[in-house]
Amino acid sequence: MIKFDEDRSRFPEKNPDGTNIIDLESGRFTHLWQGPVHPGITGNMSLELIVQGDEVMSCKTHVGYLHRGFEKLMERRRFIQCLPICVRICVPEPDFNEYCLCATVEELAGVEVPDAGQWMRTLLLEMARLQGYLMWLGGISGALGMGIIGQWTNYGRDLILDRFEEITGGRVYHMHMMPGGVRSMTPDGFNQRMEENLREISEILKDVHKTMIENTVFRTRTVGTGYIDPLMVNKYGITGPNARAAGILRDVRIEYPYLRYGELDFEPYLGKDSDIFTRTLVRYNDTLTSVDLIRQIMSKMPSKGPFMADMPNMLHFKIPRGETYIRAECSRGEFGYYTVTDGSGYPRRINARGPSYTHGVSLIEKLGINANIADVAALMVSLHIYPPEIER
């Protein structure tokens, strides 16, 4: 006969510094791996959990399953050759990588991008954010057992991917931005087709609100789970929607207006409670903002005009010694490239800073403790962790 102690507060015993004492030999703990072969994990990574009952006592992130050594490979390639490889760092939203690399090259080489090119880049980045959010809405609903919502939002994402295909020719990887501008402007009739798609996506988002955010089961599962203290924001390097859910404005689009974001009218949603539910609300409202922003961009964007600066032959292009950090706001938080050049045609070092780097390792290891096993998947999705950014 197994007897469980009624009073759970005594278990496990604590060290003087507040950490749990974990003795695997005692037989009261179970060693559990969530991932990499696991439906409730975002991408190819794993969490090493030590659980007692269904309560997580210790959580460790294991990454490196997707390491390709991008930063090493980019050192062997010319700047223009880095473009097709750097987009593979982040698969769901590759455009932010293109932007960061192009902006770095432009800043260090002193190139000015024409107005139309800037607007086009803004449009591409906003479309990438919208499809990233749509995929995320499917992810969080899937993690909480509402698979049907993922079907709708992925359909919406496919519509955006179609528009991407129309502009760039690629569904997932676009490589549409080049150092100096973009490869082309939007084709004829694009705005009308995009408007139709946005209308359809707005309908989907209304349904998502009805079925997910107003859903009692969803609320019961998520309100109060995975709470981030606002004081943790700087300590753990939290950026983007996760920080905005804690009531702290961290949005590169507003703080450091890049491209044409300074001319657009929008206000990000700030939450207070910073649990999974608030993070969902923040991202849901950001999706609506994104839809609105695309409409604004399309109305303000010049349809003609030069979109590419005069660039020298990129194959013999040399950049003087220097270093800089370029940041952009992706759907998960602050995305940035720290680049050092040494006067040759090759970068000395490019270090990509993905928002998941901080969210996916130190933060989830902290939040995972004392969570329920069933909530770990939702917690992970709610932080929007994407492993290739961590290990690159």
Partner: protein
């Protein structure tokens, strides 16, 4: 190495009874895989038809190709109509899609997953990086040829292949299975030593049994 990591230990059950656990013997069966031959060609033909029309995929997104799996499950592309289904565990699956490049760390897990799948099992290599390294031809951490580590039935080239290409790959695989040429599991059993030597060459800390059922 393995003895150190998985020592024999005594466990006291919740009811007070003590028993000794020897992880390498109790958890794993170290038997080598056997070649399975069918006795009756007609029945085998029928089986192959059935297998070809129920391809169940392991839900293990090993690389960036996994991003195009999600649209395949929506009504727009709807892979389910071809009998394709996604399962969470290798025990219930017979098709393993290697979705892109494999780092050495993932390859180790891929081998475990592949060996745990039930025979007959099929492998689709997705993306150029499984064929010859593709974009990562000079990377120090990704494998260049998938067929040196596990038998591959068909490749889908591209970076990244569109969902339609994947559907076409399924159709191609069906033809191979119906023709009775998809005997990867038997190939693996026949050339077991060669595959193991290749795998051990690049996986430096081999701390698992040679074959895990």
């Amino acid at each position: 190495m393995t003895e150190k990591k998985y020592p024999h230990h005594k466990v006291t059950g919740p009811d007070g009874a003590e028993f000794v656990v020897t992880p390498m013997e109790d958890y794993y069966c170290q038997e080598r895989p056997q070649v399975q031959k069918s006795s009756n060609a007609v029945i085998e033909k029928f089986y192959n038809w059935a297998r070809a029309n129920s391809l169940w995929i392991v839900g293990f997104g090993t690389g960036c190709g996994a991003i195009e799996m999600r649209p395949l499950r929506t009504p727009r592309f709807d892979a389910y109509r071809y009998g394709v289904n996604w399962r969470a565990t290798p025990r219930q699956s017979n098709l393993f899609i290697i979705s892109g490049y494999l780092s050495v760390k993932t390859l180790k897990r891929v081998i475990r997953v592949y060996e745990q799948m039930q025979s007959p099992k099929y492998v689709l290599g997705l993306g150029s990086c499984t064929i010859n390294g593709g974009m990562y031809w000079d990377s120090y951490n990704t494998i260049k040829r998938l067929d040196h580590y596990i038998p591959v039935d068909a490749y889908i080239p591209g970076c990244m292949p569109r969902p339609e290409a994947l559907l076409d790959g399924f159709e191609e695989l069906k033809k191979i299975i119906i023709a009775g040429e998809a005997n990867g599991a038997n190939l693996y059993a026949e050339n077991f030593d060669w595959y193991k030597a290749n795998q051990k060459k690049i996986i430096k800390n081999w701390d698992m049994p040679d074959y895990s059922w």
